[in-house]
Symmetry: C2
DNA sequence: TCCCGTTTTTGATCTTGATCAAAGCACTCG
DNA sequence: CGAGTGCTTTGATCAAGATCAAAAACGGGA
């Protein structure tokens, strides 16, 4: 959690919210043109399944607006979200035939899509794109592994606090504000979806949210609008290191 | 868990147990020579820490022999393993300055190492290597996300069964035997390390192992030598899909 | 405005796995 | 051979979170 993901906000890619711009901030103009000519947009409504695990993959792309979730379901219905896709996040699997997980629109979502095959050709012919994509994938891997610590070892309260902190921080980055002091944002997930993400039941999520509210660590206006009066206070409840990340 | 990882055994790379051979099975001979001239070996004893989270990274490489673990520790001592590195697995972060997690030798381990900087140059100049590394990283990401399902939603019994099934299958791949019927192998982890990997306590691990033994799903000879009389039987306890993985 | 369906909150109880505690085993070393 | 040490197993109890069950709050039409 120490290292901010290499998204839009810390990459030199102007105002374009599309992740491939980030890819292309290091590209030659020619390559940018190639990508521009390939792209198309598609929108999905909240709750819609964008693609099922096992589906044949035709596209890769990135989230422009809204929030999508990667999710896995067991035969008996137990579900676990394995990734949140926020604006500027890459979606898809260059080099793979089928989707490994379900992709679900958590809110209304707009994607920017490219046909997979020409994109793969671009990767294979353009080392800068391939290595940029590698960096992004490594970041995702680190994030997944941080989440494993949360799922395996954190208490319900710590899980909720960590989740709120992540959303708040991510939101601050998008708005180019500091992640400190008083922060406000809209929760992109229902209690049910939060439970799926955190490895809890929705009742436990609700109870812990109520507890944090009771203790003044968060304020709830309606169900989705959150205010964190003091970000540092909330961070104390996450179980994470508070110091900025050891030596160096 | 449906898709076998692209390791040694299903890549055309002869008998060399080193992962970069796998990378190089698609390379030109020149590139192979470059890699050969860069490599060196280093061994670590069981229990030794190979590198700490935050350490400055000098090398990348791969596991030749033994088992290493990626691990995270919270201030109060709670620990979560976030990855197992088996022979042929890649270790390191091209494009990153510091290690994101601790790397610990679970057994005696031999690594094959390259200096990071020239390796990064090779990536940037050689699209085949970059895109191969991308594929490997995406595989790791999928594996991490499967593990998130295990950590977030599976019962203790399912966790143990899943772990044993993974080790057994991975072992079978290395020995070029089918992952079915009667299978024998040596557990690479102590009960304590298993607990760290599965998000359990060592007592719970021990109890569940005893239960599986009592029910005849596994046989224990000593503490580490395991026999699975019927792999399919054990798979029934993992909570995973039994069918070979939907359409396609 | 009032209804109706959905989402969320709250309450009561139960279960799984954690915690605390004590043996049991296998190995090494003196 | 026997004590010591580091795993591992087993037992007894506890508690966090799940489950079952209602009630409350919200939101969006008609």
């Amino acid at each position: 959690m120490n290292t901010a993901p290499r998204t839009l906000a810390n990459t030199d890619c102007g105002d374009c919210p599309i992740r491939y711009r980030a890819v292309c901030s290091r590209c030659e103009p020619d390559e940018l043109d190639i990508l521009d000519s390939m792209k198309s947009y598609k929108t999905y409504e909240a709750g819609q399944t964008i693609c099922w695990a096992g589906d044949h993959l035709q596209y890769v792309g990135s989230v422009v607006e809204g929030v999508a979730a990667l999710s896995q379901t067991m035969e008996d219905g137990r579900r676990q979200m394995v990734g949140l896709l926020l604006p500027s996040d890459f979606v898809g699997r260059p080099g793979r035939e089928t989707a490994p997980f379900d992709v679900i629109a958590a809110t209304d979502v707009t994607l920017c899509l490219f046909h997979k095959t020409p994109f793969e050709e671009l990767i294979n012919s353009t080392p800068t794109i391939a290595s940029r994509l590698l960096e992004m994938t490594l970041d995702e891997l680190d994030a997944a592994r941080e989440w494993m610590l949360l799922l395996g070892r954190k208490t319900a309260r710590e899980k909720i606090a960590s989740f709120l902190a992540i959303i708040a921080r991510r939101n601050a980055v998008l708005q180019r504000k500091p992640a400190a002091g008083r922060m406000e944002f809209i929760l992109p997930l229902s209690r049910d979806a939060m439970a799926d993400y955190l490895g809890l039941t929705l009742e436990t999520v609700s109870r812990q949210m109520s507890a944090l509210k009771r203790e003044g660590l968060i304020e709830l206006h309606g169900k989705r609008q959150i205010t964190i009066p003091d970000f540092a206070m909330l961070m104390n409840e996450t179980g994470d290191d508070t110091d900025g990340g050891m030596l160096s």
